[in-house]
Chain length 198, copies 2
């Protein structure tokens, strides 16, 4: 025991950050204590405020400290389009690309029957109610291209069809800058099947 | 502005961690909010406690919340040996290697006249007093192998000699597992000059 206990506690606490192991945590702790105590205090305040006050948007389920998140509340968004994603980070990624002006619905996960995660756990009861209200004309499925993401997309597609709402799935294919040589077979077969006439 | 402000604040605050850019900070913030709010609260408490209470050991200048750090206070350490290092992380690295049982002196930096960092700024006045007390028989210089580290080591060597205390410098050479092919010329020339008879 050569580190004082408060520093050891801080190193241990920093390890709950994703991708931070013992060495990085030690480096972060010493960096904050040696050079940036104000940053440490600011971070503590931000963590406490966010952990205590951030909840879910009652409309789209994304993380927000507001009753209705800024996207759902914005009068300039197209309320006939609903993009379904798995996580709030997916919303952030799509927003940063600046190509979508509709609303979102955040599942906060995906269907995973083996883990006991069913339709109600990912908010599909809420989604069903919204689809029934008739405002939404198209559901864009933007769940991940994983087995669970595809299964979830399939399930939601059925749900939307049962409400008579149009459904689409974001295109799968070769990413921009991608070299064919390094792209897996599954992606290539989707890229072939989804080819578009020029 | 599509993220709520508390989440944006948290992402911004996390960026003061070393090596954390906007993408990692976002990932960390969402991870904490989605999966580990207790971890976030624990981290906030640890940050506040450490930022408010951690100061410097009055004996060796390392970071600690105690008046005298655990190493300096330990009765089992060899009080005739003093290892001089630049930062508290260096103490942690040497302690983890478990090969040294003496005391430390932490400069909290190195001499850098161009940045206005002189001997008093790295505690050499305090070191001089300790060397004058006669308890220390050998000073081991373990500052970094950089230009500033070498200059600082040279300065402290003169200081120790003026007090009649023996001085040594940790060996420079090929690191364990290092392949000669990939080792720089400076290190090789040190390794050659410091060769030992078998």
């Amino acid at each position: 025991m050569t580190q004082s206990s408060l520093i050891a506690d801080l190193i241990e606490a920093l390890r709950c950050l994703p991708g931070v192991g013992p060495k990085s945590a030690q480096r972060m702790a010493y960096h904050l204590l040696e050079r940036d105590r104000d940053g440490a205090r600011r971070m503590a305040a931000a963590l406490t405020a966010a952990a205590d006050k951030v909840g879910h948007c009652t409309s789209c389920r994304t993380l927000t400290e507001l009753e209705i998140c800024p996207v759902c509340a914005s009068p300039s968004r197209d309320r006939s389009l609903l993009c379904v994603v798995e996580m709030p980070t997916d919303v952030a990624a799509i927003e940063q690309s600046n190509v979508y002006k509709g609303l979102y619905f955040v599942l906060m996960g995906h269907l995973s029957p083996l883990d006991g995660i069913g339709p109600a756990d990912i908010g599909l009861d809420l989604l069903s109610i919204r689809l029934g209200q008739g405002e939404i004309k198209e559901v864009i499925l933007a769940t991940n291209s994983t087995v669970e993401g595809e299964a979830t997309a399939h399930y939601i597609a059925e749900l939307a069809r049962s409400h008579g709402v149009a459904v689409s799935r974001i295109a799968r294919g070769v990413p921009m800058g991608g070299e064919l040589e390094y792209i897996d077979g599954g992606t290539l077969s989707h890229a072939m099947a989804g080819r578009q006439t020029l």
